[in-house]
Amino acid sequence: MELNNFGGAATMPDGLDEGRRSFVKKVTATTLALGVGGIALQTGRFLKPNVLYEPARAFKVGDLSIFPIGSRIVIEGRGVEIVRERDGIHAVSLTCTHLGCLVKQVENDPDVAYACPCHGSTFAHKGEVLGGPAPKDLPWYEMYMDHTGALVVDTSKVNRERTKLVV
């Protein structure tokens, strides 16, 4: 009978049938695993956005003239402070390295320059941690002057050497 060539277990030798069964089982299991795994991976990848509608990481902060020597000026909305000193200019991040709150400037204190309102971390004038749970110093970001003469801060690049832009 035609049926026996495909599914008639009764006349099949036992060994052959077992082999066929385990083959079908393996194929089914592999297909299932690949399918489920593939869907899981694709879903994970789907949830990771490729295009972000966030403000650009590099942005102009303005002309040099608006930063007089000795000033510390916060760039609203960017979480960056521009510090101009006699020997140069640099950009300090105001995002607390602990949990991302915005640190506040502390007035009239010889040591502490910034304090975080969330968990009480304190930072010195150059951004070093003085106390609290913050694990790292406040980073400095790369700064440069573009061809129009405007100062640009690039928050995607951390200035690890903490070099000031000499102007």
């Binding site: 949830l47 972000l52 966030e54 991302g100 969330c118």
Partner: protein, 247 residues
Amino acid sequence: MSATVYSIRDSIKNLPKNIRSSVLRPVEGTPEQARAAAVFGNVFLHIHPARVHENSLRFGYTLGLGLISFYLFLILAISGTLLMFYYTPSTQLAYHNMKDLEYVVSFGVILRNIHRWSAHAMVAAVFLHMCRVFYTGSYKAPREFNWVVGICLLLMTLFLSFTGYLLPWDQLAFWAITVGSNIAAYAPWIGEKIRFVMLGGNEVGQMALIRFYVLHVALLPVAALVLMGVHFWRIRKDGGLSRPADR
């Protein structure tokens, strides 16, 4: 056999009775049977056994905490669904929707209050329910797995509450989620990636709001509901509420 005569007059006369019996599946029999049928003949009540142990009714034993948690979930589901009619998950509109609920929508403020306070109460009730189950030793065999399901439900409750916290898009929400997502970023190896996927970006913004919204109104409630179904079903299968061994 005599053919019964079906007259439209009789039908109309018996209409209320017939509708009633078609809805209620009445059982004729002893009062005991009728009481049992009242429970297993009703789709909403048949989660109960027909008879329960007296110990299950002792308020001093359970304090009703599991039931209270479930009721709070129901209240949250209903009030939350109603709030959805006036809420837009957009950073431009969300806060204005909150103000509208407060000043413009009839009963909007009370609905929002109910949703907020029930959420707080549910976290407390679920936690206290866990304490009750621990202190009465009710997690012991054969109820181990139901305890695990219960812990998952506790986590669901916390996640639901946390995702809901962002939706009003006020200062409280924004900074609580900033802090919370940065805590997740401290997880070893994958922390930063978790944070990025959770927020859909590097900062708390529109993408984070819509993600938290979808989690809050769809994924997490459905997950919680499924787990609740398992939780209740297992109570029956594991032999009802725990009680001291029979003497």
